[in-house]
């Protein structure tokens, strides 16, 4: 799935993992949290092999589809996961506040809108203040105001020292990241800061930069003598 991939995610920054869907973003993220079968290669997270027990309370993970219990309230979900993570119960109110679900804390997750549900899923990942947050498309289906608020939250968390890896297939979110990884067909086509990527490709936006990088690579490949 992901041949020859090598990269490092800097600590205390928001790194964006961008690329079209089917490009391997989710597979890569699952490898980082240790739920993906990895055929070969080394995946290290916070200096330890990915998925080892010692990492499980230090890494927060949000899957693409919200993974919370629909027949429990937001608070009940958070209480359950905080017991598993051995996070203090004061965290529950704090994360509800962070994802702006204060008015829905006692609603059943099934009754929430799609956007609220994915924020509830995000709240679970914030419990116990993990050092690394791996977020698979956390802003899908959210209105622009909420999206802006969540990105502000991500940067606030990064400023407090959390490392974030956020995937998205929406290119305009790229400019909000400190660093970008562009993934296409399981290949890492760029690993740069957004501005450096724009400068290097002489493009006005990340979408164009992405195209330029991809085209440059395929040209390179056809020039290689057989």
């Amino acid at each position: 799935m992901l041949p020859d991939l090598s990269f490092a995610v800097p600590r205390g920054q928001v790194t964006g993992l961008l690329g079209p869907s089917g490009g391997g973003k989710s597979t890569l993220m699952r490898a980082l949290v240790g739920v993906q079968q990895v055929a070969s290669g080394r995946v290290e997270v916070l200096g330890l092999p990915a998925g080892v027990p010692a990492l499980r309370s230090r890494v927060g993970y949000v899957t693409q589809a919200p993974s919370v219990y629909g027949d429990l309230t937001v608070t009940e979900n958070l209480r359950f996961f905080s017991r598993l993570l051995r996070a203090p119960s004061s965290d529950i109110d704090a994360v509800v506040e962070q994802v702006d679900l204060g008015d829905n804390a006692d609603d059943l997750v099934d009754r929430l809108s799609g956007g609220q549900r994915s924020r509830a899923s995000l709240a679970v990942a914030l419990l116990g203040q993990p050092e690394l947050l791996v977020l698979d498309e956390p802003t899908v289906g959210l209105d622009p105001v909420l999206r802006r608020d969540l990105w502000a939250l991500f940067h606030r968390l990064a400023d407090e020292g959390t490392t974030l890896l956020v995937s998205s297939h929406v290119m305009d979110e790229a400019m909000r990241c400190d660093r970008l990884l562009l993934l296409r067909n399981g290949e890492l086509v760029a690993d740069d800061s957004p501005q450096a990527l724009l400068d290097r490709t002489d493009a006005a936006d990340v979408e164009t930069a992405f195209l330029t990088v991809v085209e440059a690579r395929s040209e390179q490949r056809t020039q290689v003598p057989a």
Binding site: Q36, G51, A65, L84, L85
Partner: protein, 249 residues
């Protein structure tokens, strides 16, 4: 398993499952009412024929908790697998054994209530003739329920959809029902079938029920039967644990 069971995580899983179940009024009502209705139906069918009711009642007391818990558990676990919550749980410090033990504990608690109601009705209202202590019947019923839970957890690993999970019921449960001695006493079955019935856990559950009904005190046969039922449950749980893969493709 790498780590022993953590009581905190197990209790967290157990109370979560019970909260979910408490919210599902219809399932809860069916769990308690269906055995009562069916046992009453059986009693009514053999109107006044106490002997036949005494022969069929105990095996059915063993069967209900087994079947019901098998279905409830396999569907619930499948839901956990398909909703992505299982994957999330496996990225937390919780051990796989904690999850299974939590489920076992929660459904075991439901089984205690269900068995108490069913046994209470059968003995107290319908007048099933029981020589020994009644609590032994209830204990056997609870063990059966836990066995059903354990098997349900196991087969849910082999089902990709809820339809498939439900289909495992006829595949796993009905052969055990046919061979457990309810229709033909096990020693009168053809040799091959008799041998098969010797390795099916429900046979021992039904035997334990009979034993509890007919003997005035605890017998060694009861100990053997109940050990086999409990052992099969533990074996199924251990196999179920090995099907919970942290890393998947």
């Amino acid at each position: 398993m790498r780590s022993p069971i953590s009581p905190a995580a197990t209790l967290a899983v157990c109370s979560r499952v019970l909260t979910q179940l408490r919210r599902d009024h219809r399932t809860l009502a069916m769990l308690l009412v269906i055995p009562v209705v069916l046992l009453t139906l059986l009693w009514w069918m053999y109107d006044g024929d106490d002997q036949t009711f005494a022969r069929l009642g105990p095996p059915l007391l063993a069967l209900f908790p087994f079947v019901v818990m098998f279905l409830v558990t396999s569907v619930t676990t499948l839901r956990e697998r398909s909703s992505g919550t299982l994957e999330r749980l496996l990225t937390t410090p919780m051990g796989k054994a904690d999850l299974l033990a939590g489920y076992g504990l929660a459904f075991g608690a439901v089984a205690v209530v269900q068995a108490t109601v069913a046994v209470g009705l059968t003995v107290g209202v319908l007048g099933l003739d029981v020589r020994g202590p009644v609590w032994v019947l209830a204990l056997v019923a609870v063990l059966d329920a836990i066995l059903g839970t354990a098997l349900g957890l196991l087969v849910s690993a082999f089902a990709a959809t809820e339809f498939q999970a439900v289909q495992f019921m006829p595949a796993f449960v009905i052969p055990q029902l046919l061979l457990c001695g309810l229709f033909v006493p096990r020693d009168r079955l053809p040799e091959v079938l008799s041998a098969i019935s010797d390795v099916l856990p429900l046979s021992y559950a039904v035997e334990a029920m009979r034993e509890a009904q007919t003997s005035t005190s605890w017998t060694s046969g009861l100990t053997v039967d109940m050990t086999v039922v409990a052992g099969s449950g533990l074996l199924a749980l251990a196999l179920a644990a090995s099907t919970l893969r942290r890393r998947t493709a």
